[in-house]
Symmetry: C2
Amino acid sequence: MSSKFLAVILAGGSGTRFWPMSRKARPKQLLSLIGDEPIITSTVKRLDGLIAPQDVWVVCGEPLVEPTSDVLNPIGVDKYVVEPYARNTAPAIMLSAVTLARANPDATLVFLPSDHHVADPSAFRACLERASEVAKDGYIVTLGIEPTRPETGYGYIKRSAEALKHGARVDRFVEKPDETTAQAYLDEGGYFWNAGIFVTTADTLLQEFARQYPDQAAAVNAVLTVPDKELEVAIHTAFEAVPATSIDYAIMENAQKVAVVPASCGWSDVGHWAALHDVMEVDADNNVTKGQVVATRTRDCVLFNLCSDRILAAADVEGMVVVQCDDATLVLPLDKAQSVRDVVDALKSTNLNVFL
Amino acid sequence: MSSKFLAVILAGGSGTRFWPMSRKARPKQLLSLIGDEPIITSTVKRLDGLIAPQDVWVVCGEPLVEPTSDVLNPIGVDKYVVEPYARNTAPAIMLSAVTLARANPDATLVFLPSDHHVADPSAFRACLERASEVAKDGYIVTLGIEPTRPETGYGYIKRSAEALKHGARVDRFVEKPDETTAQAYLDEGGYFWNAGIFVTTADTLLQEFARQYPDQAAAVNAVLTVPDKELEVAIHTAFEAVPATSIDYAIMENAQKVAVVPASCGWSDVGHWAALHDVMEVDADNNVTKGQVVATRTRDCVLFNLCSDRILAAADVEGMVVVQCDDATLVLPLDKAQSVRDVVDALKSTNLNVFL
C-alpha cells in the first residue's frame, strides 16, 4: 500500500517582525526577502523531487488567498484550505488534515511553515523522506534541527533513548529556555530545535486527536464523510471543535507516538531582520545589503533599500538594521531586532496604523 | 557725519554637511533646518531693528540668486552682489565692499555668514552695535564668541591687553587647534571663537587692502568710480585682483587695526547634523525630531523625516543621526556627523551623483 505524500504549507501568519517590508496584506512569506523570489515560492520549490507542486496545499485565511495565489499559481500550486478565521495552528492543521484525508484517506502529510529558509534543500528532502518512513509506523514525526548555538528563541525537542529506524522517540518538548538552560541542552546533547515541521499520516493525526479530544472527534471526522453540499458547514464546525492553541500544545506534547528525525540542512526560521545575516551573503564588511546602498566604514549591518529610485547611505555605522521602503524607514540595532514589535505596537496605538 | 549701517550676507556656500537635506541647488542656508523658516531668513530677521531688510545685500554665485530670491524677496531683501565664480571669501567680500561703497562711500558694513544660528538676536544686535562704534575708529572689528567648550572645529581669536571702548585689539588669529590646545585656550582665557562675522567701514577695508596689496588696489578701487557702462568689466577685474583665499588669511591676520568685541548671544555655526542637538528643542529622551517620527527607547538622536507621507521609525537606537528625505536616507553616528562628507565623496565618485 503506497500512501501519497502531500504537503500542507502553513501560510496564515501575518507576522510583523519584518516591518516595514512586511505588512498586513503582504506578510513575510510573500516577500522576496532573501533571494529574488518570495520565500513561499522557495518553500514549494525545495519540496520538488519529493512532492510536486500539484500535491502542495496552502492553508491561510481568506484575505491571503489572492496575494498568495498571485505568487504560487505560476509555479503550479492551486489548492487552498481556507481558515474561517485566525485560530492558532492546531485548528488550521486539523482542518487541513481532515480536508486532505477526505480525498486521500491514506495520505502521508508534511506540515511546514511557509517562511523558513533551508540552505540545503536536498538534505531537507532526504530528511522528510526518512520522516515519512517513520510516519508509516504510526508516529507523528517532528524534524529536529541540530542546534549550533544556545538559542533562546526556539522550543526544543528532547529525544529519548529509544532509537527508531530513523531518529528516535521523543522524550519531551520544552519551551523556549533561558540562556543557561539552552547552553546546558547544547552541552548535554540529544536536544533539537523544534522547527514546527512534522510528518504524519492523516490517519495517525486524526486518531491521536480522537484519543486526546474524544468529545470533539466526531465534529472533526465529519469532514471526511459529509456530502459535498454539507461540507462548508462541516468544515466550520470542525475548525471550531479544535482548541485554539498551537499544535505542539494541543496534540504533540501528549501524543502517544512522537518521533524526532534529526535534520542538518542549513535551516533557519529567519525570525527577524538580524537573522538575514545568517542566511544571506555578506560583503567584505560583514554587511547584508539589498538595493541601492552606499556604505562607508560600515560593518555588521543589514541595509535594505527597497526603493529603486532612492538611495540609502550609511557612514561609520556598526551593528544596525536599516530598512527603507516606500512609505517607511526603520532603524534599530542588530542585537535588538525583536524591538520591531514595539514599533508596530506604537503604530497600532496611534493614528499611524495605516503604515502597518 | 552719520554713516549708514549695511549688511552683507555671505550666501555663496553650497555645503554638503547637511546632505541629504542640503543639495547643490538647495544649500543649507535655504533650508528650514531649525525652525519653520529658512536659516537665511532668520539671519536677515535677526538684524531687523539695527539693519532693515532693504539695507541687506546678499553675495552669492549666479546659480543661487534665484533660489535665494525666492526665499528673501517676500521679506524685502532684493540686493545681490553676484560672484562671477566661486573664489573663496576674500574676493567675495572685497567685491561686496567696493560695490556697496560705490553708492554708500561712508557706509559701515557687517559681513556675516548666511547659515548660522543665534539664540539671542537682541544680544547679537547689541554686539553689532558696539562693534560698529569701534569700527568708526578705523578698526576691522571681529565678533568673538565666548567659548563654552574646548572646540576643535573653529579658529580662535586672541585678544591683546589693549582694551578699546568695547572689546580689545586683537593679538592674533589662530587656526583650528587640537583638543589639548583648545583646552589650554579655555583655561587661559582671552580667546574667542572666530565666527567669521565682522564689522568695518568700507573705507577701512579698502585702505587695508591697498596697504597689503598695493599692486591690486587700483583694480579694486576702480569699481568705486567707473561709469555704469564699464561697471561689469570693472567688477570682474576687481574680483580677480583679490587673492583667492579666505578673508582671515588675506586681510585680517596682517591688518593694522583689528579689534574683537566679545559676543554672548547663543551663537552656533550649525556646522553638521549633530549640532542641531545644541540649537533645537530636545524631547524627554534627548532626541531632536522633525516630521512623522516614531521612536521607542531611543535616546540622544537626531531624527529628521522630511517626507509628510512617510514614517521614520527607530527602536533602541542611541546617539545616531537618521535623515529621511525624498530620494535618500542617511544614517550615521551623532559623534561622527562629519562623515557625511565621505558619503558625498562616495556619491561623487559613482554614477550616483544625481543624489548630490
